[in-house]
């Protein structure tokens, strides 16, 4: 196996492979020798690479230096060129023109500013005489200047201002500075210098000069203050106006000079503010002169700044406006008066100028125009522009007519707020120097007037119609003038034609002589006694004959309490009188009938009862005379008498029924319980019926008899109809009624009761209920009792009621007033 060879230098390795047999390898001596050689190789190698890197570095540095040198050379060339350009640029860009001329004054050099200032191109200007550009009037001055300088050799440098003509042919000011150019031998060969445009400067200087003149000489007072507001300078006018000179007020704060006891504090305050803030101020102020007299001044304060904009102080212009102020005050006073008058008018008034623009508006118009149109009236705006189209046509037409010099009057009706109003409008031209310069519009709301006119018309028509219907005429006779006016119907009553003019005599002559006497006494009385006078009279005359009239006269008293006139109303009472007579006739006949009825009742009670009695008694006599009579005949006689008795009861019933309400008894205070007892005494109370009385029995103010009559009828009814032999009862109660004016009385029984279908019938006269109980021997009812009860109770304002069922019994109730009306 091959021995491992250590890593030797590549050159040694190659030598070993070439020259050393493999067998020698591994020889320790050889190996250390080889290692030494290898080390030498390696050292040599290292030295070599070091030398190489040094060499390389030197080469690189050399190259860098060389390149820097090249760059520097380039830069200096560049800089030189830039410096040259910059110089040219500077020369070209200086605002001043830099120039050079030859000895003959021809342009030799001009920089770019020449073109900027004069407008001439440089290359076209070179070679031309400088003088040619100067204004003719200034040329001589320039030439003189140069000649003098050359001759006297006084000055090398000179300067001046001349006017020149620019390319645009405008005249401008230039200032030039120049010196002679001399060669080394001292010979002058030209001029060099600069020139600049000073047109604005000249203008400014001139205006300052002019301003200072103005400040000196102006009629207005001028004050200049320093930045703290202290007075530095004043002009003569201010001394003249105020009476103070600079000796007095120099160094005064401006505000002290302005302040006085009569100055408006608000204005002074705002001046102070302006001074503090370095601001402008315009205003007017009242103050006092040095002699104490007041004067009004207008004040203009403006801050002053220097050219650099630094605040320097104030310039104050004062002028005496005492005169204007006085006039103004007078105008204001008259304007205030005028507008007070204007505003106090309760109609809308405004004016428009010839272009239709609104000028003056009074208060009413300000207030109400908006109700008429949807927008308010505003000064300076067109009257019609915001109106609907139709309104525009309407108003423009009116304005046009008025502006052409006519006065226009019109009535219109428009929606005003929520209602329709009527307006009278009137447009009148405002004429100055025969020219219409505007229109005054006057708008009066006449709604009330229009309505009251209509209402008056209607009410007059209504009055006429009413008087016609009432056949009633009215009239008025004025005491002073004797004028007599009367309504249409009065004329009709007097038999006058519609177009006839009534006079007092028309009335007087329509009366009979007797009635006239009454009329005259009335006419005398009314103004004196100041009260109504009424009398009835007839109206004579062809057509009015037979009319009965009631005339009422009354004084008409005016506000001062004097009787101005007599007013009268004459009413046709012919029909009324006739009716009155007829009524009297009716009343008389009713009274007669009543008496006849009384007489009839009397006849019934006596004359009918007598024959009845006779028939009755005769049956008895017949019985007496016929000693033997069959039982059947006797029975028939008994029945005959029974019927006779019934007939008597009927007659009595009719009598009492007809007597109800017709007959009056005394009204007395009585205990209702006592009256019940009286009624019970009248009845024949059967032993088998139990009587119960309970409840609260009130005191009554009552006609006793009818009350007892009612109770006794009800009690009798209860007894008579009762069918129970045992256990029968009648219960009588008293209560207060639901209506506090009445008492309620009830009679209840446990008798047979009444079928419902008879409930109404029992209260009708002559109505009786067929009796089913044959054991009851009581006489048959007459059908008067309950009818009488109802008639009496209802006569007193009470009511009767019945509750009843067969087998249950009956409950009769009635109400009776606690206090009866006294008829």
């Amino acid at each position: 196996m091959r021995t491992e060879i250590p890593q030797f230098h590549r050159l040694l390795k190659r030598q070993m492979e070439k020259h050393l047999p493999n067998s020698m390898m591994g020889e320790p001596g050889l190996m250390s020798f080889l290692e030494a050689i290898d080390q030498a190789y390696k050292d040599f190698d290292r030295d070599l690479s070091q030398s190489e890197s040094v060499l390389e570095q030197s080469l690189r540095e050399l190259f860098v230096v060389n390149r820097q040198l090249t760059l520097q050379a380039k830069q200096s060339q560049e800089e030189a060129r830039r410096a040259r350009d910059e110089l040219q640029g500077v020369v070209d860009n200086v605002s001043e023109v830099v120039f050079q001329t030859d000895l003959l004054g021809r342009w030799v050099y001009l920089n770019a500013s020449w073109t900027r200032i004069t407008g001439y191109p440089v290359n076209q200007s070179l070679g031309h005489r400088a003088l040619d550009y100067i204004h003719e009037t200034d040329r001589i001055r320039v030439v003189d200047l140069f000649r003098r300088s050359v001759r006297e050799q006084r000055s090398e440098r000179f300067q001046g201002r001349v006017r020149y003509r620019s390319a645009s042919n405008s005249l401008r000011w230039i200032e030039f500075r120049a010196r002679f150019l001399t060669d080394p031998q001292g010979e002058i060969y030209g001029l060099a210098g600069s020139l600049g445009d000073v047109t604005e400067q000249v203008a400014a200087e001139r205006s300052i000069r002019r301003l200072s003149l103005v400040a000196e000489r102006t009629a207005n007072g001028v004050i200049i203050t320093d930045s703290s507001g202290k007075i530095e300078w004043i002009n003569e006018s201010l001394s003249r106006l105020s009476g103070y000179d600079l000796l007095h007020i120099g160094d005064w704060p401006l505000i002290e000079f302005l302040e006085s006891d009569i100055g408006e504090p608000v204005e002074l305050e705002s001046i102070k503010q302006a001074l503090e803030h370095g601001a402008s101020h315009r205003g007017s102020l009242q103050s006092r002169k040095s002699d104490g007299s007041p004067w009004w001044m207008s004040i203009n304060i403006d801050p002053l700044h220097n050219e650099r904009g630094v605040f320097q102080g104030f310039i104050v212009l004062l002028s005496d406006i005492t005169g204007e102020r006085h006039i103004q005050e007078q105008i204001q006073i008259s304007e205030a008066r005028l507008s007070a008058v204007f505003d106090s008018i309760d109609d809308m008034i405004w004016s428009v100028d010839q272009d239709g623009l609104v000028e003056l508006i009074n208060h009413k118009a300000k207030q109400d125009f908006g109700h008429l149109y949807a927008h308010p009236l505003q000064p300076g705006l067109s009257l019609t522009k915001r109106m609907p189209e139709t309104e525009q046509l309407f108003w423009n037409g009116l304005l046009h007519a008025a502006l052409s010099g006519q006065s226009v009057d019109e009535r219109m009706n428009r929606r005003f707020g929520n209602e329709r109003h009527y307006f009278d409008l009137s447009l009148n031209p405002i004429v100055r120097d025969d020219q219409s310069v505007g229109v005054v519009v006057y708008l009066r709301d006449v709604t009330e007037m229009v309505r009251s006119e209509a209402a008056l018309r209607t009410s007059r028509e209504q009055l006429d119609r009413a008087q016609e219907m009432a056949r009633l005429g009215s009239w008025e006779w004025e005491l002073d003038t004797g004028q007599f006016i009367c309504s249409q119907q009065m004329k009709t009553l007097l038999g006058m034609k519609e177009d006839e003019t009534p006079v007092w005599e028309s009335f007087v002559h329509a009366l009979s002589p007797d009635d006239r006497t009454v009329l005259f006494s009335g006419v005398e009385q009314v103004p004196v006694l100041r009260r109504e006078f009424k009398f009835e009279h007839k109206l004579l005359g062809p057509e009015a004959s037979g009319i009965v009239v009631e005339t009422t006269m009354a004084p008409h008293i005016d506000k001062r309490g004097a009787v101005r006139s007599i007013r009268g109303v004459s009413r046709d009472i012919t029909d009324w009188t006739n009716q009155q007579a007829k009524l009297q006739e009716y009343l008389r006949s009713i009274e007669r009938r009543n008496k006849e009825l009384d007489r009839f009742a009397y006849l019934v009670s006596h004359d009918l009862k007598s024959p009845l009695r006779a028939i009755f008694n005769l049956t008895l006599f017949i019985e007496d005379e016929l000693s033997e009579m069959p039982a059947a005949v006797q029975e028939k006689f008994r029945e005959m008498r029974r019927r006779g008795e019934q007939m008597e009861r009927l007659i009595d019933g009719i009598l009492s029924y007809s007597r109800v309400g017709r007959k009056k008894y005394e009204v007395r205070r009585a205990a209702s319980r006592d009256l019940l007892d009286a009624a019970l005494q009248l009845s024949n109370w059967p032993n088998h019926l139990e009587l119960r009385v309970s409840g609260q029995w009130p005191e009554l103010t009552v006609e006793e008899t009818p009350f007892i009559q009612v109770f006794s009828n009800l009690v009798n009814n209860a007894i008579k109809c009762h069918d129970k032999r045992e256990g029968g009862w009648v219960h009588i109660e008293a209560h207060l009624d639901a209506d506090p004016r009445f008492a309620l009385f009830c009679i209840q029984d446990n008798g047979p009761g009444i079928e419902e279908r008879f409930h109404d019938k029992v209260f009708e006269i002559f109505q009786t209920i067929p009796r089913e109980d044959s054991t009851n021997t009581a006489p048959e009812g007459t059908g008067i009792g309950l009818a009488l009860v109802r008639k009496v109770v209802e006569e007193k304002g009470g009511r009767v009621s019945l509750e009843s069922r067969p087998g249950w019994g009956s409950l009769f109730c009635f109400t009776w007033p606690l206090v009866e009306d006294i008829h």
């Binding site: 006596h606 009845l612 009695r613 006779a614 008895l620 006599f621 006779g644 008597e648 009595d652």
Partner: protein, 140 residues
């Protein structure tokens, strides 16, 4: 034996007279009956001295009569000092309060409403007779 007063019946109705006689007869009344058809007739009898002298007297009268009514007759009797001691009983068909009030102004001895029923009528007449017969009167 006390003499029974005679009774003057003032009545215009024939049947009523018969009726009263019937009651008298059937009840064995012993009083003598005199009749007058109206107030005038009655008054002339009462005013005759002979008529009065023949014994004590009582009057039963109707109110409603021709010529002179009962009220007028009663007034005259009560106003005549020679007659006003005589008992006067009124039998009338009227039960009207006014008639009663009017009658009582002249102080009748009694006032009866004529009952149609025979029993009542008889009772009433007998009561009146009983009263008259018991009353002691000064002899005229």
């Amino acid at each position: 034996m006390l003499k029974l007063p005679r009774i003057l019946v003032v009545e215009d109705d024939e049947i009523d007279i018969l009726n009263m006689e019937r009651v008298f007869r059937r009840n064995n009344v012993l009083n003598a009956l005199e009749f007058a058809r109206n107030g005038v007739e009655a008054l002339s009898k009462l005013e005759s001295v002979e008529f009065r002298r023949s014994g004590p007297l009582a009057v039963i009268m109707d109110l409603n009569m021709p010529k002179m009514g009962g009220l007028e007759l009663l007034r005259r009797i009560r106003q005549n000092p020679e007659l006003n001691g005589i008992p006067v009983v009124v039998f009338s068909t009227s039960d009207e309060a006014e008639d009663l009030a009017e009658a009582f102004r002249y102080h009748p001895t009694a006032y009866f409403v004529k009952a149609l029923a025979q029993e009542r009528f008889q009772e009433d007449i007998l009561a009146v007779l009983h009263f008259i017969n018991l009353s002691r009167q000064p002899r005229c």
